[in-house]
């Protein structure tokens, strides 16, 4: 991984704040991810990690500024992030049980052309041509996560680990420049966690990753830089080794040393 300073910034968060009534879940957080950099985001329960992801992807009311490729991104609108190449996965994999695995991936296709009713009725030939290209792309994405055999199985029948992989296949289909992942390894067995790390290592070569995760061995393998949050505030950042040595981080997790 190259030193972040020489690489152009991909995501820049300035003083992002999220408040629910009297509780400040995210309190003026600043965070940067450079092009093709993999950053870890850690912190004890309730430290605001997921809420920060929700703020960046426009799912909760947030204040502050967020820039993608130096362009300002309006907050509070869910569609803005993906339009700028920022895709996100969720703590609980968001899979549509009424669609098959292939369809769950196809919906994320960046090719918006010939998908509406008018194409379905008036220009079917062009529609098929475009859609076949999407099928190939989706098929490769499914193969990369090892779900090619389940292409036509309705997503309702998937086990938990498979749902997690299907969401990642959808992320690959969206060809994002930055991928926000909310506890991707949660609930996976150690075998699957290793396999997921291998996959994300490949993805990380040409896509920026911001990983919220608790499995530190998993993070250490992927991230050069880790940011630590506690009660909505950023309390530490640096290489994994520096972060674990920092007493403030230990205190954040274990409470003040007695």
């Amino acid at each position: 991984m190259n030193a972040p300073s020489t690489v152009p910034p991909l995501l820049e968060c300035r003083d992002v704040t999220v408040r629910f009534g009297g509780v400040t879940a995210v309190d003026g957080v600043c965070l940067d991810v450079s092009v093709r950099e993999v950053v870890g985001l850690v912190g004890p329960n309730g430290s605001g990690k997921s809420t920060l992801l929700n703020a960046i992807s426009g799912l909760v009311n947030a204040r502050g500024e967020v820039y993608v490729n130096r362009q300002p991104m309006p907050l509070r609108r869910p569609g803005e992030a993906i339009r700028r190449g920022v895709f996100r996965t969720f703590q609980t994999p968001q899979i549509d049980p009424n669609l098959t695995c292939l369809e769950n991936v196809l919906v994320a296709s960046t090719d918006q052309g010939r998908r509406g009713a008018s194409a379905a009725w008036l220009r079917r030939r062009a529609m098929w041509a475009r859609d076949r290209a999407r099928w190939d792309e989706a098929d490769t994405a499914l193969r990369r996560v090892g779900l090619a055999a389940r292409a036509n199985v309705p997503a309702a029948g998937l086990a938990y680990g498979e749902r997690r992989h299907l969401e990642i296949a959808r992320a690959l289909m969206a060809r994002p420049s930055l991928l926000l992942m909310d506890e991707p390894a949660a609930g996976l067995s150690s075998t699957e966690t290793h396999r997921l790390a291998d996959l994300l290592e490949q993805v990380g070569e040409n896509t920026g990753l911001l990983l919220v995760e608790h499995k530190i061995a998993f993070l250490e393998r992927l991230c050069r830089r880790i940011v630590v949050l506690q009660t909505g505030r950023r309390i530490a950042a640096g290489s994994p080794a520096e972060v674990w040595a920092d007493p403030a981080v230990a205190a954040a997790y274990l409470g003040e040393a007695r």
Binding site: G22, G146, G187, Y253
Partner: protein, 283 residues
Amino acid sequence: MRVRATDRTPAAAESQAPAASPAPLLAVRGLSVSYGQVEAVHGIDLEVGAGEAVSMLGANGAGKSSTLRALSRLIRSGGQIVFDGVDRRRASADGLARAGLVHVPEGRRLFASLTTEENLLVGRSARAGRPPLFDLDDIYDLFPPLAGLRRRSAWALSGGEQQMAAIGRALLAAPRLLLLDEPSLGLAPVMVDAVYTVLARIRSQVSIFVVEQNASLALDLCDRAYVLATGRIVMSGPASDFADRAELLASYLARDEPSGDEVEGDAVPDVDPDQRRAAAATG
């Protein structure tokens, strides 16, 4: 005697029963929770004696909250739950609360549209005839900041104030056993200290089972502790055994992956057997 995680013995460490005390207030045998969500609990055993304070420590996703939600019957679970000598697997959540097993949920969850005092008064619904342990004034003594916030709507309270009100609400139910789910969650350190000071004061009147990430305060408060990792108890014993913070932090951050659930997947990516059972269980 403390059983270490790295032993090759089967994952569920047998818990050493404390000195021969009367029948435990709460005895859990083979508790297992399986659903499509992140935390699964794989057959844990634990006990809380009358008048005892016990803590369960563990990293995120270790299954702490699922354990408490299973104990308070919010979610279905396998295994045996004996409280006050009666098997409670058939009990409803509100029935168990009225029996005295009062659960202070993760994230406090006050009733947003009710005022602070109204939230406290609702706690009395679970008292169900038991003599009161604390009355309203006792709560305001224990938590002075709340006295000035009686009329304020709960959604407008800060995280710390909400936590105090949530504990006060549970105390008004005269609990026989107080279950606390991560009281330090999202609280500034000064607020966490205030909450634990109060818990120390009421220790003599209420048995406590606190699920926590903040190990040092929990260990100061409790006689015994369990450590949970990926749904299994990996360490248990008197609080004094957990002085070694580095090792505890290591188990928190899942540095040394417990080998218990190693699954040799074949070429086609197979799914962890627990997950498949989990998915099957949920239908």
